[in-house]
Symmetry: C2
Subunit: 261 residues, 2 copies
């Protein structure tokens, strides 16, 4: 957080804001300004179209320089969320992918509880014109949608970030419910590792049948393993089960010699 | 509401949004867009700097044409609120003028109750650079402020309108508390009429002492008579009392002949 003075640090903790392939520097700047107004400071950019740093972003950030200066850039959404325990995806409407859908109030309250429990969280926002892909939404644990006028739904990313940041600061004085006994969900990199493993072992078994079906099938698998909020320990157990299925068979059980393949 | 199609009318009721001397057409357009997203449609402009209509406003409204087309223009804030029963003023921080200060959630909930009770309401937003004058705030019944980061408070008018519009739509499914038995506050034009009367009768009595003290003294009077939310009937009684003091004296009581002056 270089370039930040002490006073501005006062309110600068909470979920990371993740912009996926933002196009206009002006929008990135407006996002930074919205974040700063409500005490958020961690901005992550996935493949910004016009590169980074971007002087238009700084100009429209209205002196939210501490957010602009601390922004980090990633090549893929997956990398941008790798170290997070819990990720929300914002979408214009619910998607057919089995993820819980929350309103902003409920989502912010949950983020606050997780924050109090020491989890690292983030909120993903999609491109200006068409939002997040299904694959990107699949990286998230839950979905947030905004209660907009169905006859005129036209929130831009800076407005959507503003609303979530605002709901975040509003939870600042809520009686924080003690973090649940359940352990923190694993960081996303553990899920990604599992996905990479599944991709390999299922692909070589012909699980995906045709190449064009594979993306959707992988998306469904990711949703399946993301939804429960598995802990690192649970993922390790799961990985053990899968590896066992992969490497051994009734005829060649573990300890009987070389694995089957 | 010419130019509005049926579907867009679906959500288009609620408080009027009043912009006092907005400077940039782009901001007016962004305000219209924010309103449309959350089902508001009545935009009132007080002396917009670049006149009206304004093509830059339309361009940045992102097809919220029904709001732009229906916008009305006034010369003074007082005229813009004349037909309203209840007015909120948005300010960056509480002012020293004895008006109740609300947060956006509480304010929106109150607006919804008043709406259900048949009152006409409005929310005033000030100029881009320096907000509302104390005199303008004095026209309102209550003040709304936003829970921003004290170290970085830089909401623009479109963002402030967005937040209030969003809080308005959120109250749409609240269990509306039955309107209180109290009658609706008088429309602002009745208060203004009283103020005009007081200005005259007090001025000619030397009440204001010096001209430079008068604006602040009038502002305090306006605050005094606005705060209780007087009904039309109450204002009539009040006016009767004042007129009695003005026109009669113990030596020349009502009915005794010509008034004293």
């Amino acid at each position: 957080m270089a370039g930040t003075d002490k006073q501005q640090d006062m309110l600068a903790e909470g979920p990371a804001i993740i912009l996926v392939e933002p196009q206009l520097g002006e929008n990135i700047g407006m996002v930074a300004r919205a974040m700063a107004n409500f005490g958020l400071a961690e901005l992550r950019l996935v493949a910004p179209r016009d590169g980074w740093p971007n002087e238009k972003a700084r100009a429209s950030a209205s002196r939210a320089d501490h957010v602009i200066d601390a922004a980090t850039v990633y090549e893929t959404p997956s990398e941008a969320v790798a170290d997070l325990n819990f990720v929300l995806a914002t979408t214009a409407r619910p998607r057919d992918n089995f993820k819980p859908v929350r309103g902003p109030v409920e989502a912010a309250s949950d983020l606050r509880s997780r924050f109090a429990g020491g989890q690292k969280t983030g909120i993903m926002f999609g491109r200006e014109r068409w939002g997040l892909t299904n694959e990107e939404v699949a990286l998230a644990d839950e979905i947030v949608t905004f209660p907009v006028n169905p006859a005129f739904a036209s929130l831009n990313i800076a407005q959507a970030v503003l609303l979530m940041s605002y709901e975040w600061i509003k939870t600042g004085d809520q009686a924080v419910t003690p973090p649940e006994q359940a352990l923190a969900p694993a960081q996303k990199l553990h899920i990604e590792s599992l996905m990479g493993y599944l991709d390999n072992v299922l692909d070589e078994r012909g699980y995906f049948r045709t190449e064009d079906k594979k993306p959707k099938m992988m998306e469904n698998l990711r949703a399946l393993f993301t939804r429960p909020g598995f802990t690192v320990e649970e993922l390790a157990v799961l990985r053990g089960v899968l590896t066992s299925l992969e490497k051994f068979s009734p005829r060649n059980p573990r300890g009987s010699g070389a694995p089957e393949r």
